[in-house]
Symmetry: C2
Subunit: 353 residues, 2 copies
């Protein structure tokens, strides 16, 4: 499996700045003052560079939501009971969750992957079953995953990207569902940014101060126990990670190898991006940070990836909801690039003429 | 005409907070942690309060772009020649401008109103002809408009809102086109916020430092000449305003009277909002600030209206481009509110259960 992963990683190339210049030249010929569409122009240029085509289409968009459970909830770190994970998976499949609504609004497909939910779904229409385990183990007591589980989950993510490419998907977004998953995400944030746990750990979906102190203690205990390092990303995932986070990291690697942009959601998805970057630094070139989460550690993670989020709407839901809104902005930028008239076409005078 | 305007103003009521509570109760019953969709929830609640309906639809969206010229360009305050205004109107009608592309992307109609362009269009399909004058006069020499012209332009805006309501439009956005219009917008910003001209005046679509100093001098001269005050909004519009700014102010008043939200674009549209607020303070309740412009004075204007912009994408194009993106976010919020499953419907456990 390590060979398979290495092969994908070897296909990831940094962006060629020549494509950014090609794109900017066209953007500057459109009927608007130069640069006046700001980040929409930046998105369009990046898309051209990612695709390495002069007029890349952007028709099919997909949000892949990875769902998994976390043994660490036994420590009482979440405000919600674990069964909410599988209940929300059913909600996704019925189209009633936030990501379903925003997927429909922005014209993006929503795919739901059971990569590690602690529930037997049997055969449910629409659910992609890639269960690596019935959730992770309690990281405060033992490694969350074996190295093999972590690798398998990474490869599930890669597979989802390859399948998307084969289906003609132009742009991807990553989402998550997993009660308790801010705990592994914060642990990984501390490992990969080098910042103390207290700086990167938020209150998840709404826990009290005492529970928060306890959450810090749990994460610190897990870090002391497994000693994860940024130099061994798979080991870090195994020690203090989670299956959906591994899946997202794999999706990022697969998207970068396939030359497709990946819209990052919030705190959980960005933890996956830290893992992906540690495995393949150039994968960051294919990432677009959609939304800055309310979680205080998110900005620290984004800074370490040198990514500037598009939106700041005080959201903290996950599921890929922020990423779906980001997909719509990416599409806006690409449409501007493709569809606006040039000064010549429209017969409009240019600046200084 | 003053009577007509007073009648519209008398129909504008502040929002009833009971509706905000009704909306929040439903938002809190949806399958997500409370408040976790942040500003999307805020938008949904505001929409319910504006419409005063428990389940208001949001199907039809419209951006109204007012185009006009400005005599003050004779002072050399703009980087573009005046004919760009009418050339861009043709570009709008052919569907090639930024606002056309973003209107199509977000599913909003784009209406173009000639409220004062210095050009004879004759009869052009798609153009709404409500020309009050062939542009404003040079405010550095004489009042930009007569009081009667300012009033007529305000009523054109009101008429556009009434027409939108009659056509079943659920949400409106205001856009502008007018070479030189950052000059009257900055002058009005200074009048209505009480801040010095230097603090609210930016570099428009890209002028040099020397031209900027000259622009400040021109605005200061006009203010000294006409002595506009916030207590006489129509007089301020006449002295240092412009026809498209008056049209936008009228559209805001009409939208508020008709109980429809109005998405504010950038610097120019927000100058119109300052005028509308001075005429009818409650009209601000119906405004949603879509985007924070790169123009430095914009934040000062938004602060004075107590509005917090949804987006900050470094845009400075105008035309309603920021407002169109804001319409899409409003729609996202309303869809969340209308379409997400409740905890009961989805069989998902609530927090603390």
């Amino acid at each position: 499996m390590m060979t398979e992963l290495s092969q994908i990683i070897s296909q990831i190339e940094p962006l060629d700045p020549t494509w950014l210049e090609t794109a900017q030249a066209r953007l500057d010929s459109l009927t608007k003052p130069r640069g006046s569409l700001g980040r929409l122009e930046e998105l369009a240029a990046r898309y051209v560079a990612i695709r390495r085509e002069e007029m890349p289409p952007l028709d099919k968009k997909r949000v892949v939501v990875f769902a998994a459970d976390h043994g660490v909830v036994a420590e009482g770190v979440s405000a919600y009971p674990q069964e909410v994970t599988f209940q929300m998976v059913y909600n996704f499949l019925q189209g009633g969750a936030g990501i379903n609504v925003l997927g429909r609004h922005t014209g993006a497909q929503v795919e739901v992957v059971d990569i590690g939910v602690n529930h037997d779904f049997g055969s449910v229409p629409g659910l992609i079953s890639r269960k690596v385990a019935y959730g992770s183990r309690n990281m405060a007591q033992e490694p969350a995953l074996t190295r093999e589980e972590a690798l398998r989950a990474l490869l599930v993510g890669v597979e989802m990207a390859e399948e998307a490419l084969a289906s003609g998907v132009d742009a991807l977004a990553a989402g998550d569902m997993g009660i308790g998953n801010t705990t592994p995400a914060a642990a990984l944030a501390s490992v990969f940014t080098g910042r103390p746990v207290g700086a990167v750990t938020g209150r998840g979906t709404g826990i009290e101060d005492q529970v928060w102190q306890h959450k810090l203690a749990v994460i610190n205990r897990a870090l002391a126990l497994h000693r994860p390092t940024a130099e061994d990303p798979v080991g870090a995932l195994a020690g203090v990670g989670g299956l959906e986070i591994a899946g997202i990291a794999g999706l990022i690697l697969g998207a970068a190898a396939a030359r497709r942009p990946l819209l990052l959601d919030g705190f959980i998805a960005t933890a996956g991006a830290l893992v992906a970057k540690a495995l393949a630094p150039a994968s960051v070139d294919y990432l677009i940070a959609a939304h800055r989460s309310v979680e205080p550690g998110h900005q620290i993670m984004l800074d370490s990836l040198e990514l500037k989020p598009l939106l700041n709407l005080q959201m903290r839901l996950g599921e890929g909801t922020g990423a779906a809104l980001g997909l719509s902005l990416l599409e806006a930028g690409v449409r501007i690039y493709r569809d606006m008239a040039t000064f010549g076409e429209a017969g409009v005078a240019e600046q200084g003429e």
